[in-house]
């Protein structure tokens, strides 16, 4: 009979700091608006700082566009559409888009480092996910530019005109790619507004666009806060609004465009269910839970933030999840070994902390990993709440941070009902060894994306978008093109 081993003195082996170098990046002190392939000082004369959320240091000053600036950008986009872009053949448009994709690839390292500096996401993710995927979106849609009649059979594909695009701070460059690439491929011109906390990679992309020789005015980038976004939404000469962001702002936009000719796609919030059945490969499911909620600090609209675990394996899964959380490194986003970086802004950290407080007040049991977090900058420990129900505020509202709520379930019908019992419907995950069960659930879960035995997988070929208050319209794939065609 084996006896319990006497513990041997453990070897402390800790990873030395391994920061990605920032010596190769080039940042201006002050960024102007990008209109008509030129850097234009804002008529507002106003600038706002963009900071590194991991250190709170100012990275650059960014121009704050007002109504007049937006009008200038829209006029430039309209002129480019009428005079040049709408007359150009698809094959020619495709060449420009391919060129942008290749130039982004060549500067992938610089993009990754700037993305991590400005947004707080770990370099492992910006290097391995955000930047390569952003390039792939340009490559993918470049290929469609001269094949549009195959994308919309039996219809003559026609561009809409000028697209106003407003993107969020969680995947700054990637969202810019999701928006710009299909719009250009379909023959539209663009006025894009990045989020105020993460303008830098969009402005670096503007440098590439200028260098690529894309005709002036085809892509215009105006930076600023919500008022800048409102100026885009309300501009009468815009034909299409594409918005990714919060459900609240989405509703404001929807009201603003009501009764206008503007076509709209909205990709909004989520509170997605990640469902673990008792026949799932448990250790891989635990990884999927981790990726589902802690990827990008939980700043993911499709984050698997509501975990449902079948009751007979709940203790095991929760124990393994807690153990796994202890091996996550939280800290300097530029360190190559960091798993969880900085929360994007003070404002967002306050929101997350508010929900953690609510969760505790609601009587849910909290567990946070034992990691240390830097004293400076905005950081949040990976957090679990157990003992929650559908009636808890923390399971109903989108937290947009590294906070997971865990509920148990007993039967399939019960979990389908609970998974659908939310105003949102962006994504879901299903973990089971049974293929038949996967297909059964994909038809019954009201969510735009259902992942089986994986989570948070993205590809330019695959459409993405929501049901219900998670928005409408699809981005990515062939579906993403039709959002930019008449």
């Amino acid at each position: 009979m084996a006896k319990k081993n006497t513990p041997t003195p453990s070897t402390e082996w800790n990873y030395a700091a391994s920061p990605e170098s920032t010596s190769h990046i080039r940042l201006e002190k002050k960024y102007q608006l990008f209109i008509n392939n030129e850097w234009v000082t804002p008529s507002s004369k106003k600038y706002f700082p963009t900071i590194n959320p991991a250190t709170e240091d100012v990275l650059a000053e960014i121009a704050w566009a007002n109504d007049a600036d937006v009008d200038k950008a829209v006029k430039a986009a309209r002129k480019a559409y009428t005079d040049v872009w709408s007359k150009m053949s698809g094959a020619e448009r495709g060449k420009y888009i391919y060129r942008i994709a290749r130039m982004m690839q060549e500067r992938a390292r610089e993009f990754a480092v700037i993305e991590s500096l400005d947004s707080g996401k770990p370099i492992r993710e910006s290097r391995d996910v955000d930047v390569p995927l952003a390039c792939n979106h340009f490559f993918y849609y470049a290929g469609w530019a001269d094949k549009l009649e195959y994308a919309v059979p039996h219809k003559k594909p026609e561009a809409l005109g000028v697209a106003g695009q407003i993107i969020p701070w969680n995947f700054p460059l990637l969202m810019a790619a999701w928006k710009i690439a299909p719009a250009l491929a379909a023959g539209n011109t663009v006025v894009l507004k990045p989020a105020e906390t993460t303008s830098l990679t969009a402005l670096k992309l503007a440098e590439i666009i200028k260098d690529s020789g894309l005709p002036a005015g085809v892509v215009n980038i105006v930076t600023g806060y919500g008022d800048t976004g409102a100026a885009i939404v309300n501009h009468p000469d815009i034909d299409k609004i594409a918005f990714t962001g919060s459900t609240n702002v989405g509703k404001i936009i929807q009201r603003a465009v009501a009764g206008t000719h503007k076509k709209t796609t909205l990709e909004l919030g989520g509170k997605s269910a990640n469902i673990i059945f008792d026949d799932a490969p448990i250790d891989q499911a635990v990884e999927g839970i981790i990726n589902g909620i802690f990827f990008n600090q939980g700043h993911v609209c499709c984050a698997g933030s509501r975990l449902f675990v079948q009751e007979n394996i709940a203790d095991l899964v929760i124990r393994k999840l807690k153990t796994r959380m202890e091996s996550l490194y939280v800290g300097d986003p530029l360190d190559k070994n960091t798993d969880i970086g900085a929360i994007n802004s003070k404002e967002q950290l306050d929101t997350i902390n508010k929900y953690i407080k609510i969760g505790k007040a609601e009587g849910a049991e909290i567990y946070q990993s034992d990691c240390s977090i830097p004293s400076k900058g905005f950081f949040c420990k990976p957090t679990l709440f157990t003992g929650v129900s559908q009636s808890h505020v923390i399971t109903q509202e989108e937290i947009f941070g590294p906070v997971l709520t865990i509920q148990t379930f007993r039967t399939i019908d019960e979990v389908i009902q609970k998974a659908n019992n939310t105003p949102y419907g962006l994504a879901a995950g299903v973990w089971t060894d049974k293929g038949s069960r996967i297909f059964n659930l994909t038809t019954k879960l009201r969510a735009g994306v259902v992942w089986a035995n994986t989570y948070n997988k993205f590809d330019p070929v695959s459409p993405f978008g929501g049901y219900k208050e998670s928005g409408f319209g699809r981005e990515g794939g062939v579906h993403g093109l039709s959002a930019y065609l008449k």
Binding site: W13, A16, P281, I282, Q284, E287, S327, N337, D433, T454
Partner: protein, 303 residues
């Protein structure tokens, strides 16, 4: 106390998803090991090596030379550890015993009709007892893969338990020969059987079959060790063998052990590398961390 086979080991088998395992392993491989962590890691790797020669053409001369190398990895670099053990055929154990004297380097002997295991129960027991009598500190047995694939799990279990008994004080490493088990589900099941039957260590491969110690396989076995430890508090050792010939891959294996099992497994009591050419690559990397330059392989002895 003799262990008996419990069919629930198989019935409750833990499912393993290959795609998920590949993703997890890829995460370990993005860990960046620099500076002091690298130097310390490389020292640990050297100290975890079972320096191995398992060939039909092995001679006492070859084994003696390897035993010297085991204790003198690279004398021009002071402060290096020895390897953990030498690993030889039973017929060479006595030679190794004599060559190592009272060194702390252990002697591991393969047994049970290594590498195929295609022999009778009596011969496997005799093979094991012979190696132990000759002075082996550790026995590396092979499981009966044919019986496993036939579904004769109780045969596999009983055989391991019997060899464990024959080992006496020698520690038992159980080689699953994962390259012949084909799926990670099988690797997991065989790991559970070996652990419950009394293995002190579980080991991936003989080195004679490809693929051998892939990180996916090692990860699956580490998870079996982890689950057993969580249930019983008993530590089981792990030995990937075959195919780990670079320092970088060895460090990624250590990262995996650290993040799955924790720092307490990071000693040669609980983790080994079965390898013949790994040591020199590690030495070359260590010399590079000292001097900043890569030296020619000709500066590192081959024994």
């Amino acid at each position: 106390m003799k262990k008996t086979y419990n069919p629930s080991l198989v019935l409750s088998n833990t499912r393993v998803d290959k795609v998920g395992v590949e993703e997890r392993v890829a995460r370990f491989q993005t860990r960046s090991i620099k500076n002091e962590a690298k130097r310390q890691g490389l020292h640990m790797v050297l100290n975890m090596i079972d320096l191995t020669t398992l060939e039909g053409k092995d001679t006492p001369g070859k084994v003696q030379q390897m035993c010297y190398k085991a204790q003198h990895l690279h004398d021009s670099l002071p402060g290096l550890p020895t390897v953990a053990a030498v690993c030889v055929y039973p017929s060479m154990v006595a030679v190794a015993r004599k060559a190592l004297g009272n060194s702390t380097v252990k002697i591991a002997s393969v047994s049970t009709a290594f590498p195929s295991g295609q022999s009778t129960h009596e011969i496997k027991l005799a093979d094991t007892k012979f190696a132990v009598d000759q002075g082996a500190d550790e026995i590396d047995m092979v499981i009966s893969r044919g019986k496993f694939l036939e579904g004769e799990y109780s045969f596999v279990f009983d055989e391991i338990a019997a060899i464990k008994e024959a080992c006496g004080k020698a520690r038992l490493k159980v080689i699953l020969e994962t390259g012949e088990l084909c799926t990670l589900d099988h690797v997991r099941m065989a790991s559970d059987i070996a652990i419950h039957a009394g293995a002190d260590f579980i080991k991936t491969s003989t080195g004679k079959i490809q693929p051998a110690a892939t990180m996916q396989v090692t990860y699956t076995m580490l998870m079996a060790i982890k689950d057993y430890y969580d249930q019983t508090g008993i530590m089981i050792g792990m030995k990937p063998a075959g195919g780990i010939s670079t320092a970088k891959l060895a460090l990624h294996n250590l990262v995996m052990v650290k993040e799955v099992l924790g720092n307490q497994w990071l000693t040669n009591e609980w983790f080994r590398f079965g390898a013949s050419s790994l040591a020199n690559d590690v030495l070359m990397q260590l010399m590079k961390t000292e001097s900043g330059l890569y030296q020619s392989p000709d500066y590192f002895s081959i024994d």
